[in-house]
Each structure stands twice: as C-alpha cells, then as structure tokens.
Symmetry: C2
Subunit: 513 residues, 2 copies
C-alpha cells in the first residue's frame, strides 16, 4: 500500500516538505484549556515510580470480591468460507470467547472490572492501533477508546468549540449530532453537496469569502461523514478527499472524520491471491477507501471509528484516532465525564481480536463477509426500486457505494399541486409542505422513511427521503411497494385506498429471473 503525501507545501504552518506539524493548540476550547488532570490519578503517576508500593490510596473493591469469575460469548466460527451467511442461516459453526478472572486470557477480568484510564485499557488500545496501522498507517497518532461515535463526536465538540464558533458540515447531515452542538452555542455552516458528497470548491468559497467582522471567527472545524454520508449515502472520492485535506491545510481546519460505515463498502475489488498470501486485513486494506487519517501528516484529523455497525450498536464501543496532543485533551475530558469504557466490552474485544478469538484477520474476514451480505441487500433494494419505483418517474436514487442508506429524490415537479412561490426573499416553493404530506401518507400506509428536512442544515432542497436497505428482504420488498403506492397516490393523483399485498418470494423470483 503506497501512501499519499500531500503534494503542496504551501500551508503557512508547514516547512520541511510538509513534515513539520502545525501548532494545534489554537483549536482547543476554553473549557479544554481550563481542564485540570484528575488529582488522584496524578498522585498515582508519582507513586507508581516504585514497584511493590502498597496501595492504601484508592477506593477500589478488591478483585476477590468481584462476583464474576468468567464471562463467555457464543460467536460465529470464523472458519466458514462466508461466516455471515453461515451465521444468519444457522448453518455455520460457532465458537466461545471467554474471559476469566483467575485464569490466563487476553485481558483478565481482574483488570477489565477495575477502574481504568479514560482512554481505555492499553491492551485494547494496542489491538486497535494495530488494526489502524494496517489499514490507515497514520503517522504519529494515538488511539483512545470511546463509547461509540456519538460519545466521541460530542466530546470533540466540547474539545474544539467555544460559544460563538462556527463549524462547517455537509448541508444534509446527522442532525442528532449537529443538534448536540447547538446548546454549546456552536453554529453550523452548511457546505453544498452533489451526488458525490461535499463539494470542495464550495468549502473553499465559504472560507475565502468569510468576513470575520460580520460573521465572527472563521470556521476552524469541519465535521464530515466521508463514507455513506448520513443521510445522503454518498462516499467521497479520493480526489475530493485530497482537495478537502488541502483546503483544511490552507485554512488551518481540524477535520472530524466520522466514519461508522467505513468497513461497509460494496463492489470492492478484493484480491483472492492477496487474501491467500497475506490474509484478509491486507486484502481489505488494499480495497477500502483512503481515509483522511491516512493522509494526515499535520495531525489535523480526528478520526472516529465504531463497532456499532459491524458488531452491534448496543456494544457502545468505538475508537478515536488523533494526534497525541488532542488525544491527551480528549482523555482528560473522558476522565472528567463518562470515565473509561465498560470492562465487559473491552474484555470481549480483547478476546475477539486475540489469539483465542477471531484475531484481527478473522475480524476482517467477518467484515468482508458482512460487506457481501449488505451488498446483496443493496442490490436487491436497487433492483426492486428500479422496477417498482423509478419506472413511475416520480422518484430516483443513486446507487450507494457503502453503508446503509439510499437517498431517494422525489420528483415533486410532477406533483399536481407543486408551485413556486414568490416572496420577499426571492422565489421558493411549497416543497416542504408537499413532502410533509407525503411523509404522513406513507405513515398512514405503514412505512417510515426519514424525510430530508430532518437532516437539512439549510431549509432548501428537502425533496428527499433517506431509506435504509439493511433490513430483511421482506422489509425491502414490502416497504418499496408501499412507497410506490404512496408516491403514486400523491403525485399522480390516481391510486386506491386498498392495501396492496405483495408476495416477497414472487418479487425476489421476478428479480432473479
């Protein structure tokens, strides 16, 4: 794997062929600057100098009093050729992942059940650093565990954002998270998107036109979801990533790379000879998109990874990769808030990625197999969509390259009651009203998709729905049939109140033949 080195050395902070890192301290919020280290942990840093020291300092229950001696998880065997298919159809093998309090294992429950560092236990951080290095090979970065990307991202907001700051984001974005920054008095500045995601030239335009006298401090943070952007499902090309990174250097921007769907990529060109020779990790690393982290010679990327989409959301574990300076400040915030992630999940991950579990390569085999299953669902969705929906002419969608979402455009100009409205601020339309009507019609028919207005930072172009394709085949077939009926009822002003019952196997049979 050959790594990209930014070609430009024009960044004002960078000398010596781009290898000197910029001063990142200006990005810290006042809150982050004012945070003190935990005084009790500071004492221990002194005290641990001498081995064998007797600890009468801490209020830790002794491990003999933890009422758990062993923890087991029954998981799929990773020996099956296609472990995800074997697991979901119940045809595959299984294995047991075990952690012990008093017997040898990758991470003893004595450690996992004790108080720990906010950044997570070293053993788990090392395993994830290893995974990171094999995929992104980031120069000089540190790994901190998180409780998933919501936890990580909202901590980054507090780390970097002062009241009155403006942050950049995609014009449609994951509003549950951007809303979390609003009570901190951080404003969002939307960057225009097209079908391929964030438009770099629009980011440049916003930054170069920024007037600090009238608009306040120029944005110094970009929040972006580069793969399967939520909600639009778009994935940034390498070219765009390089352009965006260069703009970030030019304007000294920190990039929050929120990438929960990174491991779910489709139409990948995975070399079976690489798998045979070097294993799944190498083969997947060659095929997966290039992350912002992988090109981050400045240390201006904070990358957020999560197990939520590839293991389970209830796992509530992820990891943040960032330069050591930001990592230290992030860990201090964690020590002063949620504290370290739960030992149950850390022990599970340690065993799963360890030599008695799947190992890192087995884990990547699972991920690769998962991509195969989701790709099948995406293909089913797009084929049903083409036959059931697109042929009506009332809606269209791009094929997503990754993740879980299809961004469905409603051709509202076909709507008999669609109209442009002239008002004092210029021409606008009744799009919002008609989309709300359509959303309610769909609800009446028994279908939920997420309306674009839920995700819109600006109030325009809301004639989209975010649909997920990761449900069952039944959900895809029945859902899209209801969807067709609802848009036909709304846009064609013809249709019926009768419920149409579809036989899913018929639909799949039709598609397969």
């Amino acid at each position: 794997m050959v790594f990209f080195i930014p070609s430009s050395t024009s960044d004002r902070h960078v000398t010596e062929a781009g290898l000197k890192r910029p001063d990142l301290s200006r990005h810290l919020s006042r809150e982050a600057r004012a945070r003190l280290p935990n005084p009790i942990k500071s004492i221990w840093k002194v005290a641990q100098v001498k081995p064998g020291t007797i600890n009468m300092g801490n209020g830790d229950p002794h491990h003999t009093l933890y009422p758990v001696s062993e923890m087991n998880f029954v998981v799929p065997s990773i020996e099956d050729a296609d472990p995800v298919q074997a697991w979901r159809t119940g045809t595959g093998g299984q294995q047991v992942i075990s952690s012990y309090k008093d017997e040898p294992c990758a991470l003893s429950l004595r450690t996992a059940f004790a108080y720990g560092a906010g950044a997570g236990l070293q053993h788990v951080r090392d395993a994830l650093s290893d995974l990171n290095n094999r995929i992104h090979a980031p120069p000089n970065h540190a790994v901190s565990l998180s409780l998933g990307n919501a936890d990580a991202l909202t901590k980054c907001f507090r780390l970097l954002g002062d009241p009155g700051d403006s942050f950049l984001c995609e014009e449609f974005t994951f509003s549950a998270m951007t809303n979390a920054a609003l009570p901190l008095n951080i404003d969002w500045v939307p960057i225009r998107m097209d079908k391929d995601g964030l438009v770099p030239s629009d980011m440049e335009r916003i930054l170069s036109n920024w007037n600090e006298a009238t608009q306040g401090k120029r944005p110094h943070v970009l929040y972006t979801i580069p793969c399967s952007q939520n909600p639009t499902g778009s994935t940034l090309s390498l070219e765009r990533r390089q352009q965006i990174y260069q703009i970030a250097r030019d304007w000294d921007i920190v990039i929050l790379e929120d990438d929960p769907y990174f491991f779910l990529q489709y139409d990948l060109d995975i070399s079976s000879s690489t798998v045979e020779q070097y294993g799944f990790t190498r083969a997947m690393a060659d095929a997966l998109p290039r992350s912002f982290l992988s090109m981050d010679y400045d240390g201006r990327v904070m990358r957020l990874d999560s197990f939520s989409k590839i293991l389970a959301p209830g796992m509530r574990l992820g990891w943040v990769t960032s330069n050591p300076f930001f990592a230290e400040k992030l860990d201090m915030l964690t020590d002063s808030s949620s504290q370290h992630p739960h030992g149950l999940g850390q022990a599970f991950i340690a065993e799963l990625l360890g030599k008695h579990g799947w190992g890192v390569d087995g884990f990547m085999k699972w991920v690769s197999s998962l991509c195969g299953e989701y790709e099948r669902r995406r293909n089913l969705f797009m084929e049903v969509f083409r036959r059931e929906v697109a042929q009506t002419g009332y809606a269209s969608a791009e094929v997503p390259k990754s993740g879980m979402f299809v961004w469905i455009k409603i051709h509202l100009d076909h709507h008999p009651r669609y109209r442009r409205i002239e008002n004092s601020t210029g021409a606008t339309t009744n799009t919002a009203e008609l989309m709300d009507e359509l959303f309610r019609k769909m609800l009446d028919c028994g279908l939920v998709m997420m309306p674009a207005s839920t995700f819109a930072i600006a109030d325009h172009r809301v004639n989209f729905f975010r649909a997920t394709f990761v449900g069952t085949d039944e959900t895809i077939c029945n859902g899209l049939s209801i969807f067709r009926r609802a848009i036909e009822d709304s846009l064609a002003l013809v249709g019926t109140d009768e419920t149409i019952c579809y036989n899913v196997s018929d639909v799949i049979h039709t598609i397969e033949n």
Copy 2:
C-alpha cells in the same frame, strides 16, 4: 418502614402541607434549556403510533447480523449462607447467568444489542425502580441509567450549572469530580465539616450571609456524599440530613446526593426474623440510613447510585433517581452525548436481578454479606491502627460507619519543625510543607495514602490522610506498619532506615488473642 415527612411548611414554594412541588425550571442551565430533542427519535415517536409499521428509517444492523447469540457470566451462588465469604475463599457454589439472542430470557440480546433510549432499557429501569421503591420509597421520581456516578454527576453539573455559578460542597471532597466543574466556570463554596460530616449551621450561615452584589448568584446546588464521605469517611446522621434538607427548601437548593457507598454500611442491626419473614431487601431497607431521596417531597434531590462498589467498577453502570422534569432533561443530555449505556451490562443486570438470577432479594443478600466482609476489614484496620499507630500519639482516626475510607489525622503539633507563621493575612502554619514531606517519606517506604490537600477546597486543615481499609489483610497490616515507621521517623525524629518486615499472620494472631 415509616417515612419522614418534613415537619416545616415554611418553604416559600410549598403549600398544602408540603405536598405541592416547587417550580424547578429555574435550576436548569442555559445549555440544558437550549437542548433540542433528537429529531430522528422524535420522528419515531410519531411513527410508532401505528403497530406493524415497516421501518426503512433507521441505520440499525439487523439482529440476525449481531455476531453474538449467547452471553454467560459465572457468578456466586446466592444460596450460601454467607455468599461473599464462600466466594472469596472458593468454598461456595456458583451459578451461570445467561442472556440469549433467540431464546427466552429476561432481556433479549436482540434488544440489548440494538440502539436504545438514553435513559436505558425499560426493563432495567423498572428493576431499579423496584429496588429504589423498596429502599427509599421516593415520591414521584424517575430512574435513568448512568455509566456510574462520575458520568451521572458531571452530567448533572452541565444540567444545572451556568458559567459564574457557585455550588456548595463539603470542604474536603472528591476533587476528581469537583475539578470537572471548574472548566464550566462553576466555583465551589466549601461548607465546614466536623467528625460527623457537613455542618448544617455552616451551610445556613453561607447562604444567609451571601451577598449577590459582591459574590454573584447565590448557590442553588449542593453536592454532597452523605455516606462514607469521600475523603473523610463520615456518614451524616438522620438529624443532620433533615436539617440540610430543610435548609435546601428554605433557600431553594438542589441536592446532588452522590451515594456510591450507600450499600456498604457497618454495625447494621439486621433483624434475622425480618429476613426470614420478608427477605433481605426489607431487612436491609429497615437498617440502611435514610437517604435525602426518601425525604424528597419537593423533587429537589438528584440521587446517584452505582454498581461500582458492590459489583465492580468496570461494570460502568449506575442509576440516577430524580423528579421527572430533571430526568427528562438528563435523558436528553445523554441522548446528545454518551448515548444509552452498553447493552452488555444492561443484559447482565436484567438477568442478575431477574428470576433466573439472584433476584432483587438475592442481590440484597449479596450486599448484606459484602457489608459483613468489609466490616471485618474495617475492624481489622482499626485494631491494627490502634495498636500500631494511635499508641504513638502522632495520629488518630474516627471509626467509619460505612464505605471504604479512614480519615487519619496527623498530630503535627508534635512535629519538631512544626511552626505557626505570622503573615499579612493572619496566623498560618507550615502544615502543607510538613505533610508533603511526610507523603514523600511514605512513598520512599513503599506506601501510598492520599494526602488531604488532594481533596481540600480551602487550603487549611490539610493534616490528614485518606486511607482505604478494603485491601487485603496483608495490605492493612503491612501498610499501617510502614505508616507507623514513617510518622515516627518524621515526628519523633527517631527511627531507622532499615525496612521493617512484618509477619502478617503474627500481627493478626496478636490482634485476635
């Protein structure tokens, strides 16, 4: 159990014999007021009106793709008469607590591993509400899960504190937490303590003397650790609790009742006939101290409970009990930050407290047994302390009624270099310097206790160490022997550089005979 009803109706907000609740909205921070609900979850509130609705809205992996079908924990059998003794000595039975994805259990892994509400899964909240009701019987309160008390408390700071606010706390307190409020620009106002904890009259004095013109907004929050106060180990009497609650009513104060050591009480009068007739929960509820929550007819108490001390710190689970208005705001903050607690721990707690696990009563039997073991350790500590340390005349300590800590006073006036220093602000001493010297001497000898300066909100009376008594017998005996040597070396200016080796069984034998 008869509950205390506040005798006074003098509070300006309370009419109708104390049963009308005050308006609590004034206590919310600007951040909490500005927080929006998660727009995606709001959509679901609408959508869930109709059962059977097809979900193409969310980005949730389907449960067939969770790579865990079963989770097991090997735990002590609760059938042993003294389960903690049986467990730690390896003489007792064990049982297996199991959760399943596709088989019946208290909380299916399908639910536990999915995204959930920030407040936690209803099943677990109901189990903890039941426990709460049987112990505190709080009127009209809601339970939200937390990731332990650090998570809960720092969320409460953000919920209630605006920049410039002053909060009340004990003059020695858990600085890891009070420090977490400082970067939010919340100041701490220390209330004087004596050997029985926070002095109510000093709280009243501070509030009634408060001058908003010169000191800013009068404190509207009290942070207190009522049982085994950290670091002083004191436990508030019922009389003091009633006085403090009344002062809180008079001045409209919210009480943050941080009570991780609540379940670890010693010298309890547990009625064996109550155990036989009604079980351990009733017997323990009758014997445990009265919480602020139990007397909270106003809804001004936010009570923080944790599994860290009674199960294991790495569990990272606890619960907050508060009035429904604060609970809703807290849950919104959780949805906008850490999100819901991990499913692994929620599933474990659901099974442990469920009918296939210990049940609530078995859990309380474990707690009762744990109190017995910690009481034994406290007694050992105090007896060794009396024989080894107190007899020197250089240190003394009160016997703690609960928790894990002994607050050891160093009689520095015996120190040959102790002196009073006259300076411009009045008389002071070289206590801080001598204590630092003693701390380093102890470190050199291989012992850590926590110096009072680590916990002091004001810079006076730091001639104390916090020592824990919950280590092993060896730790207690050897630690206190080193401690004696260090204080003798420092205060008596006699002693030796030789390391004294103690035979622990000899020490214990001496004590027992």
